[in-house]
Amino acid sequence: MAKVHVSTTINGEPMEFLCEPNDTMLDALRGPLGLTGSKEGCASGDCGACSITLDDHLVCSCLMLAVESTGHEIRTIEGMAKGDQLHPLQQKFLEMAALQCGICTSGMLVASDALLKRNPKPSEEEVRFWLAGNLCRCTGYDKIVRAVMDTAAEMRAQ
């Protein structure tokens, strides 16, 4: 198949790449774009390890075609910190041991960030149901939920 040329915006920067028409956005991120922070756990939208935002909507990058990103804003885990300034969620995950192997962490952080932007005061239940699409096999989710809620409280206090 002849490759397609795509122009899009990723983490605030204009980017271009070549890909197959049937490549997913995840394929494009991890391949030609070299942004391997988003992970492939299942390629079927069941694990959330590939989570990104598309025009500020939380989506699975394995469930969109790379070509669909033309003219839209993609944000990935790589864009969460500002230089050496971690996002409060990233800092809290470190402090509260909310990660072990780390393979789900990128997706968890992107999803949690999307939640707090929509709902700065989520209850435990709301956090749990929002993150239901992000599988973790190491932590049992306990410390992740605590980290998200503590971050939400801190961000509200500021």
Binding site: R30, G37, K39, C47, F93, G102, V127, G140, D142, K143
Partner: protein, 754 residues
């Protein structure tokens, strides 16, 4: 050995050294790297559960433009069955060479038959489809019952059990006393049979590797594994490349739980890289992981326990049949060896049977075999306690193993913390909390052996007075954080000045794989000894500068000091000072230690589980959970809790919804996260941990392995809780809604108690 009790860093919730990379997406997992000229490998897999391979024709695949190499079993070193076992750890290479690629037969759907490397994944996949395999399809058997029937299809004709060709590949027993005598003394005997389904370790990261082989055979392997030395050894065995020519680098690993303690892709990718002259990357799809990598065993267990009327266990007999899958090697040692071990039982027979059947070869899963055995035993104990009208924790207390108890699998227990876990559970707020309608509470205990084993470490002081620690085990639980805590504590410096890295097979000495809850235990011993050697050197060098005896120098708070004012009035010499002076004083400051570490002792846990059941839909939800465990010494409490919480979550999945479902054609019907139902965030409550610290007297910091015990008691705790809520017992897992509803609705007769 001194048990270090100073807790400036030990016991603190420090930031894990690998954490920054993991929260920013920078951490390199095996599928994240690329090499120039890299091509892609794909595996052709058997569609049949059981078939003889009559011929393989790869000509069309080799001719496809873009294809650079094709590999079949011919390219893999053979370990002839007739030549006997060739062991690498617990793995027999005769099975390993046939597991990575089928030889005479395919033994499960998904069994690799050939592999192709091509310039794109799509071309490699297309080439696989062009390989022509002529199969003679054979009848198959997957479930234990079907595999041990007299007329069962036989997987390995050479395998005999009790004189007959059989799918039973082995038996082991642990014995104590005489159970016939013991049961005579019992006032009450309960015997029950339990079945469990195979469940997968469920790591989110599929197996992946990137391998380059230079024309002179020098091989670089970058892979997701629980042991780079295991990867090197297995690859060497299976490809014929000498170990010294293989550099196996452990990538960050996205979950293992035992499932990555063997290789699947590495030998294939190595041969493809060798044949093509290009680096080859291979990444499994989720479907391949579920079909073709070991889940743990399905099982059938019968447990019979006899007690006196005042609640003393006098005899116990357990028979555990575990599914091995395509090749021998199910974890009967764990099932038979751990299930009764928390208890002091005078007469005991615990037997394990290893059953081959046409599904993927079993792989280790967190305390392999023990959760299966404990499920059965802890449920029978619950029935006994109820019949005796004893509180289930008191019943366990009355029979608890302690220092001096002889375990059926051999050892006499030293100081252990099992009783402390029961007492802490009894004293917990959870245990006293009231229950609402359709809610129930269950308890269970568990034991796991824990291991020590070989470990190497290298500790070096940098020229600017900081520390680099190189260890040899992949970090799947947070061991780097624990090591950094210990090293900082010993040297008396800020934790952030210690860098902990994991070496590869060419940069660090042999270290056994990450498993058996052994990494922190073993690596901290060698790191401690290396650091102590360094401290000795530092004291000697300070002594030389001060012109006093090294015995008169102590190391404290990151500096050398005279032992007392009598030794001399010298200002302290810090690590930085001595590092700067090092070149003039004999050279670099560093030390390495390699040991086969000893002194690992088993771990014990006691769990409390509350459930609520929707009786119209049959849905049981865990609403509260407390895991109590003797953790020895919690070097990093956050990551010890993490092990407890992770194990509990896996056990809840195993208890309620996880199972391998097969089609009528013998294929896995749910090879994905949609229908292989692991717990999601909204399924679980917070998981509370009570860490009981009974330090291991044989370890410098009192460390005991913690990672595997947490999975052992969970299924029984959940099952006992559901019984408490509903008044109905379950004897099979998972307790999924249709099964629960069936039990609720049917007036099922209970299995007989004597």
């Amino acid at each position: 050995m001194n048990v270090v009790t100073n807790n400036k860093w030990i016991g603190q919730r420090t930031i894990r050294p690998d954490g920054m990379d993991k929260v920013t997406g920078r951490a390199q997992f095996a599928a994240d790297t690329n090499m120039p000229g890299m091509i892609w490998g794909k595996v052709l897999r058997s569609p049949h559960p059981h078939a003889r391979i009559k011929s393989i024709n790869t000509a069309k695949a080799e001719a496809l433009p873009g294809v650079k190499a094709v590999v079949t079993a011919r390219d893999i070193v053979d370990f002839p069955i007739a030549n006997g076992a060739v062991m690498l750890g617990i793995q027999d290479m005769r099975w390993m060479c046939r597991n990575v690629m089928a030889r005479e037969k395919v033994l499960f759907p998904g069994h690799p038959v050939a592999a192709v490397a091509a310039t794109s994944e799509a071309i490699a996949a297309e080439a696989c489809a062009l390989i022509e395999v002529d199969y003679e399809v054979l009848p198959w058997a997957i479930e234990i019952e079907d595999a041990i029937k007299p007329d069962a299809p036989i997987l390995h004709e050479f395998n005999k059990f009790e004189g007959k060709v059989s799918n039973i590949a082995g038996r082991l027993e642990n014995k104590k006393g005489d159970i016939a005598e013991g049961f005579k003394k019992a006032d009450l005997v309960i015997e029950r049979t339990f079945t469990t389904r195979p469940v997968h370790q469920g790591y989110i990261e599929p197996h992946a590797c990137l391998i380059s082989v230079a024309p002179d055979g020098k091989t670089t392997i970058w892979s997701s594994s629980q042991g780079q030395f295991m990867v090197r050894a297995m690859t060497a065995y299976l490809t014929g490349i000498p170990q010294s020519d293989i550099r196996a680098i452990p990538a960050e690993i996205g979950g293992g739980f035992g499932g990555k303690t063997i290789v699947y892709l590495e030998p294939l990718a190595t041969l493809l890289a060798k044949k093509s002259g290009r680096p080859v990357k291979m990444v499994m799809t989720r479907e391949e992981v579920m079909r073709a990598t070991g889940p743990t065993s399905g099982s059938k267990s019968t447990v019979k326990i006899g007690v006196t009327k005042d609640g003393k266990i006098v005899a116990a007999h357990g028979t555990f049949y575990l599914q091995a899958g395509a090749f021998p090697g199910s974890p009967i040692r764990g099932a038979a060896g751990c299930s009764f071990t928390p208890y002091d039982i005078p007469h005991l027979l615990s037997e394990g049977y290893d059953v081959c059947s046409n599904r993927s070869k079993v792989a280790a899963y967190r305390a392999p075999g023990a959760p299966i055995g404990a499920y059965a035993v802890e449920c029978v104990l619950d029935e006994l306690a109820e019949a005796l009208k004893m509180d289930p924790l008191d019943f366990r207390l009355k029979n608890a193993a302690k220092e001096g108890t002889k375990a059926a699998h051999g050892p006499v227990f030293p100081r252990i913390g099992y009783i402390e876990t029961i007492e802490a559970a009894k004293a917990s707020d959870h245990y006293k909390a009231p229950l609402g309608k359709l809610q129930g509470r269950g308890v269970a205990s568990g034991f796991w052996f824990n291991a020590g084993g070989e470990s190497s470490a290298q500790v070096n002081i940098t020229e600017d007075g900081n520390v680099v620690v190189t260890t040899g085990h992949p970090d799947i639980g947070g061991s780097r954080a624990g090591i950094a805590n210990i090293c900082a504590e010993l040297l008396g410096i800020d934790y952030r000045r210690v860098s902990v890295i994991i070496g590869d097979t060419q940069t660090i000495g042999f270290s056994n794989l990450t498993g058996g809850s052994r990494v922190l235990f073993a690596s901290s011993i060698v790191v401690t000894q290396s650091t102590e050697k360094i401290i000795h050197t530092l004291r000697e060098r300070a002594a030389k500068i001060w012109e006093i005896d090294p015995e008169a120098v102590k190391w404290e708070d990151g500096a050398a000091h005279p032992v007392s004012p009598n030794a001399g009035q010298f200002p302290p010499l810090t690590l930085k000072d001595l590092a700067e002076k090092a070149p003039a004083m004999g050279g670099p400051i560093g030390a390495g230690v390699q040991l086969n570490t000893q002194g690992a002792d088993g771990g014990f846990g006691t769990h409390i589980c509350d459930v609520e059941v929707d009786v119209d839909l049959g849905i049981a939800r865990v609403i509260r959970y407390t895991a109590v465990q003797d953790v020895g010494r919690a070097i990093h409490p956050g990551y010890v809790e993490g092990q407890l919480q992770g194990g509990v979550a896996q056990g809840i999945g195993w208890a309620l919804n996880e199972e391998y479902i097969y089609t009528k054609e013998g294929k896995v019907d749910n090879p994905g996260f949609l229908d292989y139902r692991m717990p999601v965030c909204s399924d679980l409550p917070m998981i509370d941990c009570i860490m009981v610290e009974v330090p291991n007297p044989k370890h410098p910091q009192g460390v005991k392995g913690v990672g595997e015990v947490p999975l052992v008691p969970v299924m029984a705790a959940v099952s006992n809780a559901i019984y408490n809520a509903l008044g109905k017992r379950f004897y099979s897992l998972p307790m999924s809604p249709p099964k629960v509803l069936e039990v609720i609705d049917a007036p099922a007769p209970r299995q007989a108690a004597e």
